[in-house]
Amino acid sequence: MVLSGYPRSTLLIVAAGVVVVLAAVAMNVTWLVLHWRTGLLVILGLIFTALIISGVVLNTLFLAREIRRNEHQNAFLNAVTHELKTPLASIRLYLETLQTRTVDEARRREFQDIMIADCDRLLHTIDQVLRAGQGSAARPRLKGVRVNLPEMVADCLKLAQTRHHLPEGALVFANRLPEDAARTVLGDADELRSAIGNLIDNAIKYSQPRVEVYVEVDAVEDDDLVVRVKDRGIGIPKAELKRIFKRFYRIQEAVTRFKGMGLGLFIVNSVARRHGGRVYAESEGRGQGSTFTLLLPAAPPR
């Protein structure tokens, strides 16, 4: 044996060294094994913790969303209650007034006009709620009648002018369609009128008291017709530009200053999608006014 030539003491030292190294390796390996296990446990623990945390986070998020949805629905219910009961209260008040008091002819006529306006308002509210109930399913509706878009927009503007008692010039209409362009869309005339009416009503409502609304009808490439409604109203924060089309959604700042049910834009969006079109909003932000663009496919030529 090679080792046999070495003195005993050297052998002892070497042996001791080997034992020590082996022990160290063994300890190292054991340490590694042990720590690998701990590491595994740690990793497992981390995974579970991560799962639990993400669970909690998700739960909180869903809860918050549910609460927010609940709040929106609550606000919606309050708004609907108000929108239904206010005109009713007014009609009842005037009817009772006419019943119990002697009222001269001019006053009587004035009261009757007010009651008719209140009836219209009731009808409008009921229409909105029913229309919003139809949902936002994106099933393009190809049947329907041919609707002359610029004429319909002009009609809607005229109606809005009288309904909101606006001065001449508060609403400006521009038909920018080229002479030879298609000007009809295929669809449900009531729905389209409601969509355009809602855009115009919004532009007026959120501009009060200084109403300057500009509406144009135009054509874009691939045969789409465009209705653009521009106002100089309160504007829309960038983060809210998409959300405003959700059902019941209302911008927090607007809630305290303007009454509404949170249905108008949802209806516009639903109607646009059912007609194979779309609607989007642009705004430079708070106080900068807004522009709503409604795109509708033109009807194929007969």
Binding site: H82, K85, L88, A89, R92, L93, E96, T100, K259
Partner: protein
């Protein structure tokens, strides 16, 4: 007949109410927001307020609570589309005296208006709990309070007092040098006998100090007596 403030942003309703209340012989003013309502009541004594709840800006609940916290106790009849029990309760908690859900019957509304006005007239007809000090003028430390004209003159400047401010000041002046508790003030000046929040009084005192003190943050005439109430001192040493 009373002076009535209608707070209603729905013009049809507001004008219908105005027509009917004027036909009953009342004097009517219409405002559209909670802010305007608070402003109007601060400026002018109304005998009654018809208050809508869903108003732009400050709503009816908050407007009522604000007025009560300022110690303005005119009768408030809340008129609102929200008729659920929790809404009614919230209305009363905010300080309404009566609550009528829309749509309402005209006759019922008019009856309630009459009843609220009658009650406040009875209260006003009661002899004042605190008679004016000798004469209707009171002079102290170079300042003059004229209880008839609701004015206070200090340093050549004349400021107007509201009726309630004058009443409270008169009450304190009549008890010059004596400690008056907040409870006594509520009982005698406001004629409120419940355990109402007495912070309204503290707000009033703070306002009075602006009139009678040279240095409102270091009051000499209108002293706070800790844990008890207040004391008016005409000539502090």
């Amino acid at each position: 007949m009373g002076r009535i403030l209608i707070v209603e942003d729905e013009s049809h309703l507001a004008e219908g109410l105005r027509f009917n209340l004027e036909a009953e012989g009342h004097e009517v003013k219409v405002v559209e927001t909670g802010e305007q309502a608070i402003e109007e009541v601060r400026r002018d004594g109304f005998h009654l307020m018809l208050l809508d709840v869903m108003l732009p800006g400050i709503d009816g609940f908050r407007a009522a609570a604000q007025l009560r916290s300022e110690g303005r106790f005119l009768p408030i009849l809340m008129l609102t589309a929200r008729g659920r029990p929790e809404d009614v309760l919230q209305g009363f908690e905010a300080g309404a005296d009566d609550y009528l859900p829309k749509p309402f019957e005209l006759k019922i509304l008019l009856a309630r208006v009459r009843s609220l006005l009658r009650r406040s007239q009875w209260q006003q007809a009661r002899p004042p709990a605190a008679g004016p000090p000798a004469g209707s003028r009171f002079e102290f430390a170079g300042k003059t309070i004229d209880f008839d004209r609701l004015e206070i003159t200090a340093g050549g400047k004349t400021m107007r007092l509201t009726t309630m401010e004058a009443n409270l000041l008169r009450y304190l002046v009549a008890r010059e040098g004596k400690v008056v508790s907040r409870k006594m003030i509520l009982d005698d000046v406001w004629d409120v006998h419940e355990d109402t929040d007495t912070r309204a009084i503290d707000n009033f005192i703070a306002r009075l100090r602006k009139y009678v003190e040279d240095e409102p943050s270091q009051p000499k005439h209108l002293q706070t007596v800790r844990g008890t109430g207040y004391r008016f001192v005409a000539n502090p040493k």
